[in-house]
Structure formats: C-alpha cells, structure tokens
C-alpha cells in the first residue's frame, strides 16, 4: 500500500513537472488569453502557426475572470494578447491599464475606425448585430420598428430576452444611453421588463427557441446565434429557427446595434512582434473570411465577404457611432438594469 502510494505520488510529481515545463521550449510563440470559445478560434490560429511557425498558446475563460487574472499577474503576465467577445470588457482592460496601443498600418487599414479604439488600444476582429426576432405567424411586420418600439404596451407579455448579466445586453443599453440619455434609457428598460413574457433566462438561442415554441412573440438576440440554429446539425434547432424571422431594427433611425469581438496587446506583452503579427493576421482577408464562415459573424474588413447565409439576409443600416462608447456607458447600463429589475 505504502509502496503504491509512494509510486503514485512520484509519478504525479513527474507529471506535474512535465506539464509545467511544456510551454518553455518553443522558439517563437505568442500567448493568447481569450474569451472566445476554443472551437471558434482554434482553426484560424492553427493556420497562423502553419504560415508563420509561431506557436499560439491559449487560455480560454470568462472575460471578467481573464481581466482579474491579468490584473493580478501584473507586469509578469505571460499574456501577449487579450481577446474578448464584447467591446465593454476591452474598454475596461484599457481603463485598468492592462493594454498598450499598437502602431500598425495594416490594422489601421483593415479595421474601420468605428470598430477600433480611438487611441489604438484595441481592434475589432468581427462585428455582431443585436437584432429583433419575431414569430412569423403572430407578429405583423408593420408593428415592428426598433428597440425603442418594443417598450410600447402592445408587446406586454410577448418579449423574451436574456439576463442583464450578458455583456451583449449591457452594450445594447449602453448604446441607447449614448443616443437617448440616461433617463429615457431607464424608462425603456423598465418598459421592457413590464413586457417580458418570462423572467430573463438562458442564452440567445433559448430566446429564439422560445419564440419558435410560442412562449413569446419577440426575442432580442445576436444574429449569429440564429445562423447557428439555421445551420445546426440538430433537426429540432433547424425547425425552430424556420418558424422565426429576423428584423433589422432602427433602420429609419440610428441603425442596427453593432458590437464587436476584438483584441488588444497587453501592457506586459513579451512577444510583442509576434503578437502584432497575429493581430494583423486576424484582420487579414483569410482570417476575416474564417470569422464570416465559421460563426456567421460580420467581418470587420470591408472587402471580406459575408457568409452566403448572412448575405442572403440583405444589406442593412448599421449604427455609426464608435463602439468605444459602449464601453464607457457600461457601468451606467448595469445600474439601470438593477433599478429596472431586469435580472
């Protein structure tokens, strides 16, 4: 028994030592802290490694957790790039002093000004539209206008939307604050809470499924979740999505709400040249095509094509304000949600 335990213990120590040492020997490498899901980023990183010989080490976690980790690691952090799925957290990383600006003609050429930080602390890598989905049988198209319109009493008990803990909702409201001001935005949030068909729960796909199943008539969700359902390998999801249609909101006003996934160079970056190379690669036509195809997001590179499915939805008017604004209004948005009782 003792012998066995000893042997086990030794093999564990050796195993741990091996695990500890794996990252120390590669020649050129870059360390990426990402909030994107592995399968939505890994393939394109592999391609980068193939082309450049630079190895990419990955840590995926929640964006808030990654910010805490970057803060605690300080100047010794191994992270070179911090990547998120929402602009508010990029902004927070900049405010916390975790990022440094990048001077890169390639990035400035590839990424439109509204999708990057005015001081180049971070750059958008894909754009997302948060839109309205409706039940084809139960909603008249003429009743829909934009997000503000959903506050009308006629939608009472008909709206499904996820929790305000979601960065996507925070940014949606932050965008509204930028246009309508605090007071009007709070009124709107309260009205939406009154119109909810159920307590906010689940993710964006759940809201779309609930519309398909008839639990509500309207869902607020990002477009790529809808695309994911339409192209799902599960028949139930495809059938559900078929009952739902997409509506581009605010086409007569400020345009549909846009957000980004993006990344910035960390202040502690040790592999700065490699990191910038990776950032540039992710803005290139090849990588942008991957973003467009793999997850049906909108490429930020103007010349990159949308996926055929997304292209078929047609052109729409996008919000024009710089997404950096969404980050600045983030804290106000969360407080409004708390006051409005939007959980």
């Amino acid at each position: 028994m003792n012998m066995l335990l000893n042997r086990l213990f030794m093999s564990c120590l050796t195993g741990a030592a091996l695990l500890l040492s794996t990252s120390n020997f590669a020649a050129a490498e870059v360390n990426l802290y990402t909030a994107r899901k592995d399968h939505l980023i890994k393939p394109i990183l592999d391609k980068f490694t193939q082309q450049t010989g630079i190895k990419v080490n990955l840590l995926s976690s929640g964006e808030d957790q990654l910010i805490e980790r970057l803060k605690s690691e300080g100047a010794n952090s191994p992270a070179d790039i911090f990547q998120t799925t929402d602009v508010a957290r990029l902004n927070r990383a900049r405010v916390e002093g975790l990022l440094q600006p990048i001077t890169s003609a390639v990035l400035e050429r590839n990424v439109p000004a509204k999708y990057r930080d005015p001081q180049n602390y971070w750059f958008g890598q894909s754009a997302r539209a948060r839109v309205i989905f409706y039940n084809k049988d139960r909603v008249k198209l003429s009743d829909l206008s934009g997000f503000e319109g959903l506050a009308e009493p006629k939608w009472k008990g008909r709206i499904c939307v996820r929790s305000s803990a979601s960065a996507y909702n925070q940014s949606l409201l932050a965008g509204m604050i930028a246009v309508d001001g605090l007071e009007k935005s709070e009124k709107w949030a309260k009205a939406i809470v009154d119109n909810m068909a159920r307590k906010p729960q689940g993710g964006d796909r759940d809201q779309i499924s609930a519309v398909a199943a008839g639990q509500c008539d309207i869902a607020i969700a990002n477009t790529y979740y809808f695309a994911g359902m339409l192209t799902s390998d599960k028949a139930e999801e495809r059938e559900a999505a078929a009952k739902v249609a997409l509506f581009w909101p605010d086409q007569l006003g400020r345009g549909a709400h846009m957000n980004i996934s993006g990344a910035g160079l960390t202040k502690a970056a040790k592999n700065k040249a490699e990191a910038i190379k990776l950032m540039e690669f992710l803005s290139s036509a090849e990588a942008q095509q991957f973003y467009a195809e793999a997850n049906h997001e909108f490429p930020v590179l103007p010349s990159a094509k949308r996926s055929p499915l997304v292209a078929a939805w047609g052109n729409f008017k996008e919000e024009t304000i710089n997404v950096a604004m969404l980050g600045e209004n983030n804290a106000s948005a969360i407080r409004i949600f708390d006051r409005a009782g939007w959980r």
Binding site: E68, R69, S72, A165, G203, A213, Q215
Partner: protein
C-alpha cells in the same frame, strides 16, 4: 484491531472545524507547521474579507436599494427548501434502508449515494433540456393536447427557485443520508428494544428515540448540504435565481466592484454562522451519548404490502431522479450528438491528475493539522485550523479570485526582489501553474478532508499514543506506525471526497489554469455556456463516471462499518 473503515462513520466527520469545534491531548513542530499552513490556506479568505471595511463608494447603497432584498429572500427560501428536502430525503432513506427490510434494500444501500457523483449544474442542464418549454416533455404534451403556446396550459417552470430547490435537494441529500445512516448504524439496538418494550411502535421509536439520538449527525449533514447550497453558482445561475452567490459574482466581476462584493460575502458568512448558532442553541445543553456498546445485527421491521411499496417508491425515486434519469439523459445526448475528438484524452488525464494530486495534498495537510490539534489543543492551534477551513464557506467563484490575487502578489514581489538583488526576473512562478491550482483546491476543500481525519483521529485512545511514546517513538514515528494505520479508512474517505470535489470544481479551474490546459469540467461548462448542452454531455458523463468510483468504494466502506457487524 477494529475494522479501519468504522472511522469513517463519525457524525461530524465531514463538517468544517468551525462548526464542530472539537478538541483532544503536546507538539511544537506540528503546531508551527499548522499555523504556517493555516496562514497560507487562509490568505484568500482574509483577502476577501479585508474588503469588508473599505468604502464601496455608493455601490453598497445602490445594491441595498435595488437587488439586495431579492438576494436575501431568494437565498433564505433556497436554504429552507433545500434544508427540508435533504432532511426528508436523507433521513427518510437512511432510516428505511437501515431499519426496515424490504426487497431492493441491498441495492439501495449503495445506490442512494450515487447522486453525489452528479455535479448539481449538470443535473440542472439535463432537467432543463427535458422539461423546459422547447424540451421533449412539453413538446409531446402540446402535440397530444393540441396546445399551441405557453398561455394554453400550466407547466412546472424548471428554471425557477422551485426547480433549484428540487435539483439541489436531489444531489445533496446523500450528505444527510451518509451521516444519518452512520448514526443509525452506530445506535445500540438496546435503546430501540427498550422503546419497543415500553410499548412504542416503529414510528414512535423513530421519532422519539432514533431521531433525537441521530440529531447531531443529521444537523451536520444538513449544514454541509446548506453550505454547498450557498456556495453553488452553476445551478442558480443557470436557473435564473438571484442569490448571494450570483450577486457577489455580478458585483465583483460584472460591475468591477470587489469591495461591495466582499461586503455581500460577509453577509453570506453571517448566514452560515447564524445557521450554526441556531443548531447549537436549539440543541441546548443536552448531549447524546451511546451508553451501551452492545451491538448485534439490527432486527429491522419487515415491510409488506403498501408499506413495502411506499418504502421502495420513496427510496428508488431518490436514486432515479438524482442519478439514473439525468445520467441516462447524458448518455443519450452523448450517443446521439457525441463529437469526441483526440483532444478529449488530455482533458481526462488533466482532470484525473489534478484531482489525484489535490487529494493527496489535502490528505497530507489534513493529517498534519489534525495531529497538531491532537498534540496541542491550544486556542492558537484551534484558531489556525478554523481559519484554514473557512474557504469552504465562501462561494467558489469569489474564493477563486481571492486566491488569484495573493498568488500574483507573491509572484510579483519575489520577481521584483530577485531582479533588484540579482538582476534575474523569476516571472510568475506560481500563477498559472499546476501548483497554484492545487493550492486553490486546498483553500476550497481542505475542510472536507480535515474534518474526516480529525474526527477519526480523535477516536484513537490516548493510551495508544502514550504506549508508543513510552516505547521510544517520537511524534513522527507514532503518527506513521500507530495513527496512520488506524485511521487508514478515514484517510481514504477524505481523499476520495476531495477527489470527486476537484473533478467537479469549476470557478478556480477556469480562472487559474495554465495555458493550453483544459479539464473535463472546463469543457463541459464551455460547451454548455455556448448553449450547446448536448455536446457537453460527453465530458459531463465522464466526470460522473470517474466520480462513481470513489462513491462506490465509500458505500462499501460504510456497509462494513457497523461495530460488531460483518467485517
């Protein structure tokens, strides 16, 4: 020598030290080591609570005016509901399989523990997949009755406080079952026979004799289940129930306000301490002792007819709903949608290795602390031990961040010192290493291993210790040659419990793991949070299967644990 496994059966075996406050007989190095460990393991707790007295700049007022009342009400209701649920489920099943005879009892004895292997968040995923509006059950009902929307009928809303209570009761009742059953097994048959002689029926014997005798164990099990309840993040988050835990998480990470979050955490700790006090006060000065050591096979009430059916239905329902059904759903999803790639094997290896190393570390440290407390039960040792076990009472997501920050501080201070003094930067030695992860697990789960070991060690009589010392052994020799062999069973149990806990652990693993390092729990969560529940089934299933091994060993050990029983 008595069967070593009986040491697993102490009523307070799994309760944190600050709840039980046990003491026992002198040792310098051991105390020093214990204080050192306690400071190390207690650092994150101190770090979290240190924020309490800082000003939160109006955030606290904002919280108090908006969401705090809701957090309090929800957390209280959740505790009440789960408390009642685990007591009814745990005590009821323990009594039935210990004292009654009916077909299926042999299977139930161990099967009732199976839900322990299920992470609560995984059970939550499966029930949601089955029972929510778009799930197969409601869809089938709509098909059959021709309903078209939610407005046409009423159906139990699984994503609710009620749903959270049910799910948590289902996976947490084994804690009460485990301890209550041990208590019933420990009871001498004499007291029950005396009760029968005095004209009490089986029900009265249960309520008037067995239940009061088992009360400390039941309270210990319930307290443990309730602490798990307060700790839980995955389930309440998924079920859209706002509790203290989700509130702390949102305040700290979402709002970026650690101070206000720590203040919420302090309120939560108050909850836990109140809970402990209520039990202490209500028990008053009464003490429970076993006055006779006469044991023989328990006679058991032979159940027939409807009583037998009811007993079977009740007990099998607990196993079915807490384990068989969710596990089957996982297996079905896994078979249907499985996308297992080559990257799966490293995850299994990582999960297993981490759990193993953490279990060994927790047991080693647990032994050192328990032995120090035995040798020197001074206030200093006891406070050190309590400090080290507080990590268990703080929500995992909070303690994870609390662990990260002191580690980063140490790393950076060391690196700064080295570069100033010797011109070499050491960088981050701890943060992002396996060592840091194991440390985080110790912070969270040391209480689990320590309490089992401590309870077991306290049963080794002082005369044995004295004999060994008289014969020339030092404290180390005595520990190695006398105590360790005697408490082997408890060491195994403690190690297994930590092993299972680490397999399921999520928040610390998510935030502290090294680059390019994934575990089964991380993968499960990552897929589920991407709304791909069904793809998450395979890693979840593996967690459950691995978790089953220690559960089965544990139930085997308990079955053999009755004094005078077969061994």
């Amino acid at each position: 020598m008595k069967n070593a496994a009986d040491t697993t059966a102490s009523p307070n075996a799994f309760l944190p030290a600050f709840v039980t406050g046990q003491n026992t007989g002198s040792g310098g190095g051991w105390v020093g080591a214990t204080v050192f460990i306690a400071l190390l393991v207690g650092a994150p707790v101190v770090f979290v609570l240190a924020h309490v007295f800082a000003s939160s700049g109006g955030v606290w007022e904002h919280l108090a005016q908006t969401v705090l009342p809701l957090y309090i009400v929800n957390s209280l209701l959740l505790m009440l509901g789960v408390g009642a649920g685990v007591m009814i489920g745990g005590v009821g099943t323990a009594w039935l399989v210990t004292m009654c005879r009916f077909p299926g009892k042999g299977i139930l004895e161990w099967a009732l523990l199976l839900p322990m292997a299920m992470p609560a968040y995984v059970v939550a995923y499966t029930y949601t997949g089955l029972l929510d509006f778009a799930g197969p059950v409601q869809s089938a009902l709509r098909e059959v009755f021709g309903w078209s929307s939610a407005r046409d009928y009423w159906f139990f809303e699984i994503r609710s406080l009620g749903g959270a209570i049910v799910v948590m009761s289902l996976v947490l009742y084994p804690y009460v079952y485990l301890l209550a059953r041990s208590a019933f097994l420990e009871q001498s048959v004499c007291v029950l026979e005396a009760s029968r002689t005095l004209g009490r029926g089986p029900w009265q014997g249960f309520f008037k004799v067995a239940l009061p005798l088992a009360r400390p164990s039941i309270a210990a099990g319930t307290a443990l289940a309730l602490m798990e309840t307060l700790n839980d993040f995955g389930t309440v988050h998924y079920f859209a129930v706002d509790t203290f835990t989700t509130g702390i998480y949102r305040t700290w990470l979402g709002l970026g306000e650690p101070t206000a979050a720590a203040q919420l955490g302090a309120v939560l700790l108050l909850f836990v301490l109140t809970l402990v006090m209520i039990e202490r006060v209500s028990r008053g000065t009464s003490r429970v002792h076993h006055t006779t050591a006469r044991y023989r096979r328990l006679p058991g009430y032979q159940l027939t007819g409807w009583r037998c059916l009811a007993a079977q239905a009740f007990s099998f329902a607990a196993v079915f709903l807490g384990f068989a059904l969710p596990a089957s759903v996982l297996a079905w999803w896994s078979l249907r949608y499985s996308t297992v790639g080559l990257d799966f094997l490293p995850m299994v290896r990582n999960s297993f290795l981490l759990a193993l190393v953490a279990a060994l570390a927790a047991v080693t440290v647990g032994v050192i602390m328990a032995y120090a407390q035995r040798l020197s039960p001074t206030p200093m040792t006891r406070s050190a031990v309590r400090l080290a076990s507080f990590g268990y009472a703080i929500p995992g997501s909070v303690i994870a961040v609390g662990t990260l920050v002191p580690l980063g501080f140490i790393d950076n201070a060391l690196s700064g010192f080295m570069s100033e003094r010797f011109g070499v930067t050491t960088g981050l030695l701890l943060t992002g290493s396996i060592v840091a992860l194991v440390y985080a697990y110790l912070v969270r789960f040391l209480a689990v291993s320590f309490n089992g070991i401590e309870a077991s060690l306290s049963k080794v009589t002082n005369s044995m210790e004295a004999a060994s010392r008289t014969l020339g052994q030092g404290t180390m020799g005595t520990l190695r040659l006398v105590h360790i062999p005697l408490i082997r069973g408890a060491l195994l149990t403690a190690g297994l419990l930590v092993f299972v806990d680490v397999m399921k652990e999520l928040p610390a693993t998510l935030i502290m793991r090294p680059l390019n390092f994934d575990t089964l729990a991380v993968r499960t969560f990552s897929l589920a949070s991407d709304e791909r529940l069904m793809d998450a089934a395979t890693p979840a299933l593996v967690i459950v299967l691995v978790g089953l091994i220690p559960i089965i060993m544990l139930s085997y050990a308990i079955a053999r644990s009755r004094p005078g029983g077969k061994s």
